[in-house]
């Protein structure tokens, strides 16, 4: 069956360090992979989208990599801040559909 798994445990890091979150998928051939941030009591907010034929995408302090051979995406937040504390979700879509299938999510806590 299709699975999208992220770091199962919460990730706790110190302010200023780089946070690295993983997203692994099986039995899936995504065309696109997206990362979202979700704060408590709110809906997810879009962060980055990376296409199947792209290896890396950056936006300010965020970087996403996409390895279709390993079936894995890595999401990096450099110079992390306490305001980055949230749950981060990866989501996959296939060609010819807008359906987003979400991963299990990783809760990130950045402490001063």
């Amino acid at each position: 069956s299709q699975k999208i798994e992220q770091n199962s445990e919460a990730l706790n890091i110190q302010e200023g360090k780089t946070a690295t979150l993983t997203c692994n998928y099986t039995n899936y051939s995504p065309a696109y992979l997206q990362w979202y941030r979700q704060d408590p009591g709110r809906g997810p907010v879009f962060l980055l989208l990376i296409r199947e034929n792209e290896k890396e995408k950056r936006k300010e302090r965020l970087k996403v990599t996409f390895d279709t051979t390993l079936k894995q995406s890595l999401f990096h937040i450099t110079a992390s801040q306490p305001a980055d504390s949230a749950t981060y979700l990866c989501a996959l879509t296939s060609y010819n559909t807008d359906k987003l299938i979400f991963g299990t999510g990783t809760r990130l806590q950045v402490f001063p």
């Binding site: 997206q34 997810p44 879509t93 010819n96 807008d98 987003l100």
Partner: protein
Amino acid sequence: SAVISQKPSRDICQRGTSLTIQCQVDSQVTMMFWYRQQPGQSLTLIATANQGSEATYESGFVIDKFPISRPNLTFSTLTVSNMSPEDSSIYLCSATGGLNTEAFFGQGTRLTVV
């Protein structure tokens, strides 16, 4: 971008009753979706809301339990029918502006069934 308004934001309902959740988008969008999120869990897709036709449901979800309407490009409703405590969850509306573009989400409806 699109702003999505959902209402109600929360409700407490008696078992056996039904609740209709409304989703309004401030601009025309291509696709609309409904998700369920159990506390502390990720999002599970319930169905794709199709304009002017029956929704497309994911495995494990059926029209009799979760009837969905989408009368136009910017509005959709999800009804949770004959509720039981197992239906207690957060229900989220989502919309996209085109194929494989970012998705926008409402703030969710927190439903508690007692």
